[in-house]
């Protein structure tokens, strides 16, 4: 098994690793369905969330428990920890890494996970760092595409919503550079378009992409509709937010125009960008996608431990 030390950003993964990880995730699906295994009865995972995210935290903690491990956690590190007493992230990590075998870090600042990894004695998994990256989300997104479509190569993927502040979109774009002929169309309001540094990366890697504000034109074309939330808290002003809100909604009419084999994804939570009456459609894969998060995180945890129990 390839040992993986830290999980910091989507760019660190190559195709061989992704193939191996997805195979492991498939095995983990079996392990979880059979109720879990006692693989790491003595291992301790710390979930250090400086920004609350109940769902992501539960997903990691469930993954650790399904592998028989132990968890210590905090859901609001920023508000209650020694941070308010002026402690640096580095000092916090130096100490927590002595109390656990793996650290899952959610932070508000770009680059926090990298800084943590630099001083940690144990593996660090980036569970989201501000508007930076969210690599485990991107891995489960990609795994879902492969599982549902049967493969990623040649897929036409529409990424919709707030593409400036939506870190999952950035991370997923980086991952797609590992696949031949994947084509991305970025669909966003004008004020939250995909950043130029993401486009530059895709250019370097030779990934085909386009930008549009016309979602309907893609209805019968795209294989994957990756919808995202317009995140109020990531906008610099209420005025900028107002311009982006409520645009590009996936509703029944749009779904009816999609290919029968199309896939609707969303990192969740959603706040209205996908109409609930779409939920029952077999193309609506977002809850299956959330479930895949469990299997991917189980596979990642196993890799962080390098198979050592």
């Amino acid at each position: 098994m390839t040992e993986l030390y830290h999980v910091l950003g989507a760019k660190q993964f190559d195709r061989a690793f992704l193939d191996e990880l997805f195979a492991a995730a498939e095995e983990m699906e079996r392990v979880a369905d059979e109720g879990g295994e006692q693989r790491y009865p003595n291992k301790i995972m710390s979930t250090l969330f400086f920004e609350a995210s109940t769902r992501t935290r539960f997903s990691f903690e469930s993954a650790m428990h399904r592998l028989g491990g132990r968890v210590i956690g905090t859901e609001n590190a920023s508000q209650f920890s020694s941070t308010i007493k002026g402690e640096t992230l580095e000092d916090t990590i130096r100490i927590i890494s002595g109390y656990s075998d793996l650290i899952v870090l959610r932070h508000t600042e770009i680059g926090a996970a990298k800084r943590a990894a630099a001083v940690s004695d144990v593996p660090v998994i980036n569970a989201g760092d501000g508007s930076g990256e969210h690599p485990t989300q991107a891995l489960l997104d990609l795994y879902t595409i492969q599982k549902e479509l049967g493969g990623i190569e040649g897929a036409q993927i529409a990424m919709i919503g707030d593409l400036t502040y939506g870190r999952t979109v950035h991370s997923l774009s980086y991952l797609l550079a590992n696949y031949r002929d994947a084509r991305i169309t970025f669909v966003s309001p004008d004020n939250v378009r995909i950043p130029s540094y993401v486009k530059r990366y895709l250019d370097e890697k030779g990934v085909a992409y386009a930008e549009t504000a016309d979602l309907e034109s893609l209805a019968g074309v795209a294989d994957v509709f990756y919808q995202t939330r317009i995140q109020k808290e990531r906008f610099p002003s209420l005025e900028e937010y107002g311009k982006a809100e409520g645009k590009f909604i996936i509703d029944r009419a749009l779904v009816d125009a999609m290919k029968r084999s199309a896939l609707i994804l969303h990192p969740l939570p959603r706040a209205g960008e996908i109409h609930p009456d779409v939920d029952a459609d077999p193309r609506a894969a977002y809850f299956r996608q959330a479930q895949n998060g469990l299997y991917i995180r189980m596979a990642l945890i196993e890799r962080c431990f390098g198979g050592r129990r």
Copy 2:
């Protein structure tokens, strides 16, 4: 073993189930006293508390641990989860039910547990939904009466305090409809009397009840004094609260006038409605009652798993 899927409200239980549950709780008392058993080493329980309640959460989590299970939890889901990002309860439950084998839900809205159960893939236990119901509290209350008095039939039960907003009183009243000749006296300030829908239910089931504002007249008559807190946070206005506060206190004088076999219960926390100098009296059963919560919840968890390990 009768399998129980969801625990939503006190009306769902019949006498056969209650007898079986109480027998199981008795066995659980033995299990806990011997330090617990590894019955469910791979099972995960989620405690999803949208309204904080340290005691209730600890009681459920301890119950799960005493059965060898695992717990993932949040103590303030409303403040920190994706709820503030606009996610519906249904979406949250759909996802969390993929990460765990059992969900314990405390929520601020009436009917939340029922809505959760409708979309969950795993059993949901209602740990209190606003001023709705709190069925596990009612079950432990009733178990305590049976255990301490030797039986429930024919018992005269005074329920005291805020009977409008006190959900435990509602749930306990519903449960008592399963027993012959149980007589309830509702003792409350005028502005927080027992709701008419509770009385209607008792009428339908043929349960005898009365209403009074005179607690002292019951001193030598009632077998059970079920005291409750005047819950400030459930009142529409401070003025309404002021009218109810500080009335109907159980103190030494009242206890001295009670039968020797009488029982004083309280769902706790208390804030002065039972004077501390009553604690040492053998009739003061509220701490034993809280302890019974552990056994009842162990028995309920086992039923939710249908005995499958």
Copy 3:
């Protein structure tokens, strides 16, 4: 093994206990390094933190997990528990002690741990009570001195910073009374000097101590520099805080003047009292000290259980 019931304050320990505890901590270091042991698979520890302290909580929870035990916890008991509904600490403890085998209590009021122990059915460990005591911190401090210097007798120990509100300094002073010829120098701003009740205790026990505001004069003399944080939240006014802040910093220049065998300790978190460029110096022992907290707490937990599994 000496059974220890409650851990309330540093004065309760004698030399024989300390020697035994430190030997146990050494063994625990081996246990932890080998990944932990399943010594208490059925035991439940409650961490009841009325004042948040992520690090201290993690240290206790990790210790319990390394011994194979289970944890239920709350990180902000004061804000969310039944406390806001008016419940006394005594009532809370009476109930929680029925749900767990050990209670770790962090509270804001002096004497809280003692009050808890008076009504608890299970051992209580004081994890800090206001500006009172923090005995487990003092034990790990002392263990670090013994481990790093090879012994405590004859050591010259400088305690620096806010000595009025710094409870770890008080607890450590009490512990040092168990060792012959330990000499303490208290180094502090004038407005936060060591309290007279601590000095009285040292007088009674015949411990030699001095007071100064001149840190530099100790540079080549002291064996241990026990630096502490100026805790803003413990000061009565902002003006008093202003006088104490930013004084007595340990920086490169001071370290260069220290003995080669000197030891720099800090209970952490630090907020600038030790300059980061000191971290790489072998005399900077504060991260090793934090790590020792794990071993000492494992040893204490074992003693609380009296070796019974």
